[in-house]
Subunit: 397 residues, 2 copies
């Protein structure tokens, strides 16, 4: 009566220990600016709740397993703005991007298979993979290069006969990297040459602050092998809705994953009704949100790089920055910020980045910062972080 | 770039072909009474929508991965009515009973392990198991015995060194069987003697029409190995809410499955707020619903057994009847009902029961009926079914 080996191989959440430090700081009367989590503070478009409030059904019935047709149609239409021409039967609604990822893993990988993932990566990629017996072959990217991809040879060297896919988020969580068209072309070439699926997690698609955004789904040569994972969580600041989706032109994949969707019956009916309205939100909303995040990024980034020894290229997307600090142990630095440092009773909590790496030893001197506070608070938080880092470096010379 | 073997091993849904027959019948102007699906027609308690309409948050945030504390507390309190004394940290909220089942499988079984399940069983047990590489060792139960469990020896003979659990629904879907205390004691003894987990799917707990209902969670000897899967879907006719839960006193299990809950972040916030109110519904609601279903069962059962050769013990629970018919092929009979039979332009659609069996050849002459229509419609549907069956038998003598 043991727990399965696969679940044993999933690491327990490490955030709890740090949150205990944060709680202690708060108990001591300190204000803590949280830059450690990806919960945006942006107001959810009111259409979401409005649609749900207007629901008149007397019996709250199952929705179709593939999702409400109106929501699928709204997403199909939305994708045309990005030159992605999916048909309605090439889109499925899921319980968040999370379910889309888990079901995709199950559908394309058997136990012992592996997927390539540029590291640092969203740590739940690891947890989902391990929980279904799939391994990740990490492709290490570096702060010095702004976490852009290494050359083709290095990526190809990670492929073996059990490799089924390349999975990445673009724009990237946790790095904020936005891949260039050339990088995506390289990934596409590799996928074609080695017959791999491409799982593109594009939930931060609107959060690009410089340059052109290209979805790998627009590249003709891989149209039959791309699986796009998507979600309303970040786009419309509706994390609690848990509405995600999958899009793929690969028929066997869609038929396979539909079996899982049918087994779990359906996605909440009301949340789907709300999500339909989200996709009707005026484009000005997304533009304003984009501008807001761009300003925040600049505030945080400009303060951070004032400290000599910090290695960080300005990221172009998502709402995260990963920075390499001139410290030995970012976890220790974070705990110190919470327990031993403050400016006028205020401190800041970054997220140590080691958990975003699979390769042992990497990321121990890095932090991830989520710029999910308004500019005024973020500006304070950035100053506290900068001065905290300077003080910490003096103390630990 | 193939689909995984595990997903290939999940059978595609067979209902679509039959629904095509139903659609044709409707196109020809026939009315079809659907007894084939478990979507209740009972009105959802209004507290659910009321709570959601009153939500005032501006940012729809992630909920805690374990579920909203108020909902967990509501479920803890609800369980005390059944002598189940769970603590709050022994309960987790899930995306429907479906996610609870899938995550439980992943947490207690590795690839190649198996679980015992009395057959006929809810067909998604099979689909979830196969999709994560777990096998089902079926324990065949018979219409002649009202689908009660066979003796201990027969069950034990299905156990091997890869057997991790016994999984059953009680009251049963698709059979409506309610296990006696003696049967549950036997299951508990087997679990203790062979060190097995017990996964008790008790989503139909309120739908018991005769005798006492006993949850296996109340038996002291197995308190450390019982996992209760639950859901608001049937209890409160809120299938579209997708709010399920898990309860277990086994700490390693709860720690293990929490990792999966954390990876998928959270369950929809609003649906949980609604569910809190569901659990506050006055008990008179559940009593009325129980009485309504009891009447329906009687209407359907009494008509069905008028046909000589039909084998069916009166089921005591859930809202299903499985009947063995004096036909060769219940699938053929169902299609015939839809395409070749009607009474005054009306016909009926049962669900062929073969899909609820894993053992090849079993169930081909059985149907499952869900009594999810009001008594007046159900009465008509029952008559049509009875007369249809009589006509079919004459034609196929």
């Amino acid at each position: 009566m043991n727990i399965s080996k696969r679940i044993q191989s999933v690491p327990p959440s490490t955030i709890m220990e740090l949150l205990t430090f944060a709680a202690k700081a708060k108990n001591q009367g300190k204000k803590v600016y949280h830059l450690n989590i990806g919960q945006p503070d942006i107001i959810t478009p009111e259409g979401f709740l409005k649609a749900i409030r207007e629901y008149k059904g007397e019996v709250l019935e199952y929705a179709l397993s593939e999702g409400l047709p109106e929501l699928i149609e709204a997403i199909r239409k939305y994708y045309t703005n990005y030159n992605l021409d999916f048909k309605n039967d090439e889109i499925l609604i899921t319980n968040g991007g999370s379910e889309a990822l888990l079901f995709t893993m199950l559908t394309i990988c058997d136990e012992g298979d592996n997927v390539l993932v540029p590291e640092p990566f969203y740590s739940n990629y690891f947890n989902f993979s391990k929980s279904v017996g799939v391994n990740i072959n990490p492709i290490t990217t570096l702060a010095e290069n702004g976490f852009h991809l290494p050359g083709k040879e290095e990526i190809v060297s990670k492929i073996n006969d059990k490799t089924k896919a390349i999975l990445f988020s673009n724009p990237g969580n946790p790095t904020g990297v936005v891949y260039t068209k050339e990088e995506l072309e390289m990934v596409a070439d590799i996928a074609v040459e080695h017959n791999l699926w491409i799982i593109a997690d594009e939930v931060y698609r609107e959060f690009v602050y410089e340059g052109e955004y290209v979805s790998i789904g627009t590249l003709d040569k891989v149209k039959d092998r791309v699986i796009i994972v998507d979600s309303v969580s970040k786009r419309y600041s509706a994390c609690g809705a848990r509405i995600g989706s999958l899009a793929s032109k690969n028929k066997p994949f869609m038929e396979g994953i539909l079996k899982l969707c049918q087994a779990r019956l359906s996605v909440p009916t009301l949340e789907q009704l709300g999500a339909i309205e989200l996709y009707k939100t005026d484009n000005s909303y997304l533009k304003e949100v984009n501008e807001e995040y761009r300003q925040r990024r600049d505030v945080l980034y400009n303060e951070l790089i004032k400290v000599p020894g910090v290695i960080c290229k300005k990221p172009s997307g998502a709402f995260y920055i990963v920075a390499k600090l001139p410290v030995k142990d970012a976890d220790h630095f974070t705990k110190w910020l919470l327990s031993d440092f403050d400016i006028n009773g205020e401190t800041v909590m970054p997220c140590p980045a080691e958990g975003f790496y699979q390769t042992p030893g990497l990321g121990v001197d890095e932090i991830r910062l989520a710029y999910v506070l308004n500019t005024k608070d973020l500006s304070k938080a950035a100053t506290i972080l900068k001065e905290g880092l300077e003080t910490y470096l003096k103390l630990n010379k």
